[in-house]
């Protein structure tokens, strides 16, 4: 698989809030090769804690991206970039503010899902791609895919939003707020100015532990841990959550946690109009996927979007896949997902080629 790890700097990015970030850097990776017609480009958009490293060794969606996989890198040119506000190479609160020479921390402007997508579009322009074959992602990635389809409908032949929503419910906001409060309750929080000192690692780890619970299902937790003991006085599940929590601290910035969860919570497509009106005359193809055991982004949230698309007679396919792993299903239970994504993508590619 031809792989490129790169980054690119733009002079400025205007945000929804009216604030401008200048300059702004975006880290991205590409897999496979762009064809001569530039018609085989696929943008993968990552979920809350993801990064640009989507495929290959240790890639967060390597089960779906690669030679012969759902996003087949022998056929498609796959791009994935780290989101704005992130901490994995793209400008975020941990980056240095050029005006002060210090990390932005909480002085970093609030960013939105639309801001993230605007930066991705600059990258796609920079790569010389007129129209993406598809933009796809799960969870917060699904929000970005929807944002792409609504804001730049003529730049995408299709969108594949997975296990996502047009807006967070009170329950989803509530879990995010618990995570933020855990971070801010850490004695080392120091109002976000912890760079160069002790990190609010305990708070961030607790936030991640709560997150992991919401990504699993009752069934998958029973199956994986049950009431097994790790040591005489510690359950397996406790040990697992602590391990995942503290591992997260090594690769994730607490301020990014706060900024990105806020961007998810404030995302609300319906603020721009009733959902059906947003899809009026949208000519992109859509494939939405939800999972039966996903209680964090329940199927009804996908169905709301699908109903709006059908109400405007848009070209939409939808399936609710039988899965046991809760919200994590889009990452770990990929067999059925692969079948539908592969077929959908192949037919979209055929049609796009026929319409050129």
């Amino acid at each position: 698989m031809v792989t490129e790890v790169a980054s690119c700097t733009f002079d400025r990015l205007e945000l929804d809030s009216g604030v401008t970030i200048a300059p702004v850097e975006v880290a991205y990776e590409t897999y496979g090769e762009l064809n001569a017609a530039r018609s085989n480009a696929v943008l993968i958009v990552h979920a809350f804690s993801g990064d640009a490293h989507a495929a290959g060794e240790g890639g967060w969606w390597s089960s779906m991206i690669g030679p012969g996989k759902a996003f087949d890198t022998d056929k498609y040119f796959v791009i994935c970039s780290n989101v704005l506000g992130g901490c994995r190479g793209t400008t975020g609160p941990g980056s240095v503010n050029p005006e002060t020479g210090c990390p932005w921390a909480l002085s970093f402007p609030q960013v939105t899902i639309a801001d993230m997508v605007r930066l991705q579009k600059m990258l796609i322009d920079h790569l010389g791609i007129g129209r993406l074959l598809t933009v796809s992602g799960g969870s917060m990635g699904g929000m970005q895919a929807l944002e792409w389809a609504v804001t730049y409908p003529d730049r995408v032949a299709s969108a594949i939003p997975i296990a996502t929503t047009a807006r967070h419910s009170a329950q989803q906001i509530a879990f995010n707020e618990v995570g933020r409060q855990a971070i801010m309750a850490d004695p080392d929080w120091n109002n976000g100015n912890y760079y160069g000192g002790r990190l609010p690692g305990r708070g961030l780890a607790v936030a991640r532990m709560v997150g992991h619970i919401t990504y699993m299902s009752d069934e998958s937790m029973r199956e994986k841990f049950g009431r097994k003991l790790r040591t005489p006085d510690q359950f397996e599940v406790e040990s697992y959550l602590k391990y995942r929590g503290y591992k997260f601290v090594d690769r994730f910035d607490a301020n990014s946690y706060i900024y990105i969860t806020r961007a998810m919570d404030t995302f609300d497509l319906t603020q721009r109009g009733a959902l059906p009106t947003l899809f009026e005359a949208n000519e992109a193809r859509f494939l939405l996927i939800s999972f039966t055991s996903d209680w964090l982004y329940p199927p009804y949230q996908s169905l709301e979007i699908v109903k709006a698309l059908r109400g405007r007679n848009c070209d939409v396919a939808y399936c609710n896949l039988d899965a046991r792993y809760g919200h994590d299903s889009f990452l770990v239970e990929v067999e059925q997902q692969t079948e539908v994504v592969r077929g959908f993508l192949a037919s979209t590619f055929r049609e796009a080629a026929a319409n050129v």
Binding site: V306, K307, D315, A317, Y318, C319, E339, A346
Partner: protein, 210 residues
Amino acid sequence: MPSVHGRRDFAIIGELIEPKTRVLDLGCGEGELLAWLKEHKQVDGRGVEMEGARVQKAIARGASVYQGDLESAVEDYPDQAFDYVVLSQTLQETRYPLAVLRGMLRVGKRAIVAFPNFGHYSVRLAWLLSGRAPRTDRFPYDWYDSPNIHFLSVLDFEALAETQGWKVERRICVAGERQVTWLPNLMAEIAVFEVSAGAGLKPRPIGHPG
């Protein structure tokens, strides 16, 4: 008459549908008809199917299929969004057939309905001779595990069309590989009707079903 994926009703429907039209297939299964129509008639198709495994196969085949209940799904599409709305071998399984048919004529200019004819002589004979719920080639189920919850014949459908003011544009009756014109209500195994709402006649809004 050739078959499509081993289905004669598909072959007939495939012939009725004009090229480059918009088609909604209710109860589309694995999307065989939609895929055939797309390839041979450049149709812009959509499907509705309840069963997950079938939906996955249909989407994998390239069909734009929605996983859901067809009876409520038909209500979500805008008026006259399709040239044809197809309901093949499913009418007898729906809970409120009249509501479904009205919905089809609201969202589509034409409804194409294929169903097994309960007036076929084999059904009548089976019933007459056994005195039990008839089981035939077309109705192979025991009464207690049959998906069929309504039984209708060619004449029943025509009577309904008349009372509703619908216009029967075409009617094709088949038995085995042959088309039937003589005594269709007695001889036809499968009937395919192409129906429109009729000249100047608006389909009634969908009220409370039943």
